[in-house]
């Protein structure tokens, strides 16, 4: 096949090739691999080069990666709990304002045993994730439009950056006036928190795309939506993921703020409402327990959802060592 490939068409193209070849040989010039007979030599030369210049990346075994990622934070948390317990033993504050880790643990256990904690956590997480998904569905197309359409960019970019810094709790009073104490209030606040952050993340992701990818897309014939789908969005993805992560953080924070403020039987009992219940009952152990529960959910979603996603995207693009 290679021999046929290099003799057939070239002979058809020009009869001078053979003559030139023999002239070269007679002139003592080293025969190079361009000669038809040496095609196999070029092949092995090339494969040798390929072998020498490719780097095989070895990944560390799973247990070592887990150990190096799980152990340090667990130790840090253990240390914090220890300091907390020492402060309680030292009686820096009366017990009804600073509960011991054990008190908080039993308060959480109590909520767990009657199922309140699980129900509240599930309600909040499902609200948070649903709100986040809607925010993604709005934020990414919005970011794409603002990044790619000149007039929209000029008009909306500063506004979105501004909205990003506005604490979304500020929307709660207005939302209660508009939607009364309904789930719509909570979702509105979550969206106002998450959408600007996701949109801004998408915009900066698109802005950071190396111009060469746009040129490649145009040379390959991708325009408009096809360019957005095949070139722009995938190229912006790593930076976009940062925006999504931040969007989730904002969604979760806004949700807790809304749940804390908006109390109504119609809204059910989420983690925020449970926290407010603890305050009403002056049950400081429950208050601490709920703060920890809210923190844990935030960390869990980040570690179980976003971090693996981010790492796999970066690793596939060779942007991550190990």
């Amino acid at each position: 096949m290679p021999a046929d490939a290099s003799t057939g068409p070239s002979a058809g193209r020009s009869g001078a090739a053979g003559a030139a070849g023999s002239a070269r040989a007679a002139g003592l010039a080293p025969v190079t691999a361009a000669e038809p007979a040496a095609d196999g030599a070029l092949d092995t030369l090339e494969r040798g080069l390929d072998q020498l210049t490719t780097v095989e990346q070895a990944r560390r075994p799973v247990w070592r990666r887990v150990a190096s990622h799980v152990l340090p934070p667990v130790l840090a948390v253990g240390l914090i709990v220890l300091i907390w317990q020492i402060l309680v033993w030292a009686k820096v504050k009366p017990r009804y304002t600073l509960p011991s880790p054990g008190d908080v643990w039993s308060a959480l256990a109590e909520q767990w045993h009657d199922g309140t904690l699980q129900r509240a956590a599930w309600l909040s997480v499902s609200r948070g994730l649903l709100g986040f998904l809607v925010a993604v569905a709005i934020g990414i197309p919005l970011g794409l439009l603002v990044a790619r359409v000149g007039p929209l960019r000029a008009a909306l970019r500063p506004l979105l950056s501004g909205l990003q810094t506005l604490p979304s709790v500020a929307w709660v009073p207005a939302a209660i006036v508009w939607f009364a104490l309904s789930p719509a209030t909570i979702y509105f606040v979550v969206l106002m928190g998450a959408v600007p952050s996701i949109a801004v993340g998408t915009i900066s992701g698109i802005d950071q795309i190396p111009p060469i990818y746009h040129r490649v897309g145009r040379v390959l014939g991708a325009r408009g939506l096809r360019s957005a789908w095949h070139i722009v969005l995938p190229a912006a993805l790593p930076a976009c993921l940062g925006g999504l992560k931040q969007g989730w953080a904002f969604a979760w924070r806004s949700l807790m703020a809304a749940e804390l403020i908006a109390q109504s039987p119609r809204l059910g009992t989420g983690l925020g409402q449970l926290l407010e219940t603890g305050r009403d009952l002056s049950d400081i152990s429950l208050v601490f327990g709920m703060i920890i529960a809210i923190l844990l959910v935030g960390v869990a979603i980040d570690q179980l959802l976003f971090s693996p996603l981010e790492r796999s995207v970066l690793r596939r693009r060779g942007l991550l060592a190990g």
Partner: protein, 264 residues
């Protein structure tokens, strides 16, 4: 055999056209950005179907601008550009592979954007990778490939567009000497196998003489075509072919004279 078989002065358009319409027809092309100085001025160039033309010139001669115009990435301010089949494939100095796709995925994307149905894409991408001798690399990501392998994937991707014209913008400039050497031979072989017309931009005179059937020298600021050499009607030669050095010497002298004109 004389070192330079034939010399042509600035060719009026149409002079070099073989039978049939040219693969690339550039007529009185001019380009300036805004109110700036002309980057290209009255450039006329015709490339025959299947011809391998090397464009050479010092920095600022508008070689890359000319390729952008040929690729349709930019519009001329004067004159006209026509490419057979309407669209040319373009290879850049950097491989510019999309890092979120595998080597095979990069080739398949070009096929997809060309409108090749899904069922045929994988097989055709495999054929193209085999053509550049990367049959085992379809599943690898760009960062797992060496510089030379990336450029070969980029070549396969450019060929996947199945344009009649392949534009190359100093594609091997960033490679080490041995890899560049191998890729010269690889490109020569692919050119023979596919019959594609190539417009190859470089500032390396030896590279131009080795690869091109015709070498076109451009002046700088503004870019104009000042001279052409028919160096090797039979196509790309080995780098050690005897007459390469002689022709390269002559072109280098001319290039230096052109650069000296800019000294003040």
């Amino acid at each position: 055999m004389t070192a330079v078989q034939q010399q042509i002065e600035v060719a009026p358009t149409g002079v070099k056209v073989a039978a049939g319409s040219p693969a690339v027809a550039v007529e009185h092309l001019g380009k300036r950005y805004g109110r700036g100085p002309a980057v290209l001025e009255d450039v006329s160039l015709s490339v025959a179907p299947g011809e391998f033309v090397c464009l050479i010139g010092a920095s600022g001669c508008g070689k890359s601008t000319l390729l952008s115009l040929l690729a349709g990435l930019d519009a001329p301010t004067a004159g006209s550009v026509a490419v057979a089949g309407g669209r040319a494939a373009l290879m850049f100095q950097e491989p510019a592979l999309l890092p979120w796709l595998t080597a095979g995925g990069n080739v398949e994307l070009a096929l997809r954007l060309r409108g090749v149905p899904r069922s045929e894409r994988r097989a055709e991408a495999a054929d193209l990778l085999r053509l550049v001798r990367l049959d085992g690399a379809a599943g690898l990501r760009p960062h797992q490939l060496s510089g030379g392998m990336r450029q070969r994937v980029a070549l396969a991707r450019a060929l996947a567009q199945r344009s009649q014209v392949l534009l190359m913008d100093e594609p091997f400039a960033a490679l080490d000497a041995i890899t560049r050497d191998v890729l010269h031979e690889e490109l020569a072989r692919v050119w023979r196998e596919t019959g594609v017309s190539v417009v190859f931009v470089t500032h390396n005179v030896h590279e131009a003489v080795r690869l091109g059937q015709r070498v076109v020298l451009m002046s700088s600021r503004p870019g104009r075509i000042i001279r052409e050499w028919d160096v090797a009607p039979e196509g790309p030669r080995g780098i050690d072919a005897l007459d390469v050095a002689a022709v390269a010497g002559e072109i280098t002298d001319e290039l230096r004279a052109e650069i000296r004109r800019h000294a003040r």
